[in-house]
């Protein structure tokens, strides 16, 4: 299984939605709270080129925002 990382803020409903989705699907992920963790914030800005949460990475893939159909497609491709 590919490594999933999610960069979040505690008050972001889209982050919550993404995490609920992963939990429902039984997909393991690592969460970085960028409101607290300044290093993670720098890393998030570097890899996403943006200042917006959530940022989700699946291996080499970087997604800004939570797009369920896109994440499903990526996970499907990674399986193959």
């Amino acid at each position: 299984m590919v490594d999933i990382k999610i960069y979040t803020t505690p008050t972001c409903p889209y982050c919550l939605k993404a995490k609920e989705y992963f939990k429902k699907k039984g997909i393991q992920y690592k969460e970085h709270n960028v409101a607290q963790d300044k290093e993670a914030l720098k890393e998030m800005i570097r890899i996403s080129g943006g200042r917006s949460v959530p940022v989700i990475t699946a291996g080499e893939e970087v997604m800004i925002g939570f797009d369920q159909s896109r994440i499903e497609k990526i996970l499907e491709e990674q399986k193959e």
Partner: protein, 308 residues
């Protein structure tokens, strides 16, 4: 096609969840379908005008609504965006983005509204790169930054106040005097020393390199004077657009796309009701949306009884 339910609720914000609770307590066979849970409430910082709570955050209030709804066995399809609503052979049929179809004898639309865009150069390019429509989500990323908040309503003031505790400087820009009407909020914003109020200006363009570096504003309505402001972020809080496109052709709307309803939430289409921010109701408030959600179920119940 799924089996035909008695009632279908589209949307799961305050109006939708209230409707679901009322419907379940009336033992109506109900299904709720929604892209998200909580709608705009989930992106609201603090709420001080919902009775029963002196102060509650948006996500906390959504959790309370949801827990109450989940006490009942309600068929829920969440994460499913409705793209088309039709009436076929006396039933309402909702089609979702994944191609699924749900049918019911009566339907309540509670799909709420989404933030309006500025429609200026640079807005799309820098979306997520400094331009944000969700201060609740992104404000913590602007620690010690300079930001602009655009708008003069309660949401703009609320976002500015929250940002004043995180960012170093906030320009609060609106075309005319604030529309905000919550006195405690207005006092808080006025007292915040790092919020600069700029009235009588609109945003002309958003500029930057990799990320937002600044904005140009111009006088409104004349547009004869320009100013450049150096900012790292732009929070857009200029009002709402109803999420009603999926019902176009089926139900009457005003020029803004709000669904026309009477005081019983009836849309004019037999069996079709609408509640909350997606409707022409004048004030977009959580308690009003909730109240309308309850009214809609009463009306739908009456309709179902008569049509049995």
């Amino acid at each position: 096609m799924q089996p035909v339910h008695e009632l279908m609720i589209l949307g799961c914000g305050p109006a939708g969840m209230t409707a679901a609770i009322y419907a379940a307590r009336k033992r109506i066979d109900v299904v709720i379908i929604s892209d998200d849970v909580g709608g705009q409430v989930s992106t609201t910082f603090g709420i001080e005008n919902y009775p029963g709570f002196q102060y509650v955050t948006g996500p906390e209030l959504v959790d309370k609504f949801r827990a109450q709804m989940n006490q009942f066995e309600i068929e829920q399809h969440l994460g499913e965006k409705v793209v088309k609503l039709n009436k076929q052979e006396g039933y309402f049929v909702a089609q979702t983005i994944s191609g699924k179809e749900y049918a019911a004898k009566a339907c309540i639309i509670t799909t709420g509204a989404k933030p309006k865009q500025l429609g200026v150069p640079g807005e799309d390019k820098y979306r997520g790169k400094g331009v944000s429509y969700c201060a609740t989500c992104d404000a913590p990323l602007f620690a010690d930054a300079t930001v602009a908040v655009v708008g003069g309503g309660n949401s703009a003031l609320s976002s500015s106040f929250e940002l004043s505790r995180i960012a170093s400087k906030i320009y609060l820009i609106s075309r005319r005097e604030w529309r905000a009407d919550e006195a405690p909020l207005i006092e808080n914003v006025k007292a915040a020393r790092n919020i600069e109020k700029i009235i009588g200006y609109v945003v002309e363009a958003i500029a930057g390199e990799e990320m937002v570096k600044g904005i140009t504003i111009k006088t409104f309505p004349k547009g004869d004077e320009y100013k450049s402001l150096t900012v790292d972020g732009v929070f857009v809080e200029i009002g709402l657009l109803p999420n009603s496109d999926f019902a176009r052709g089926l139900v009457q709307m005003n020029e803004r796309g709000e669904i026309l309803v009477d005081c019983d939430t009836w849309t004019g289409v037999p069996g079709l009701f609408a509640a909350g921010d997606v409707t022409t109701v004048k004030d977009k408030q959580i308690v009003i949306a909730s109240g309308q959600g309850a009214v809609a179920v009463m009306s739908a119940f009456e309709y179902l009884l008569k049509s049995r």
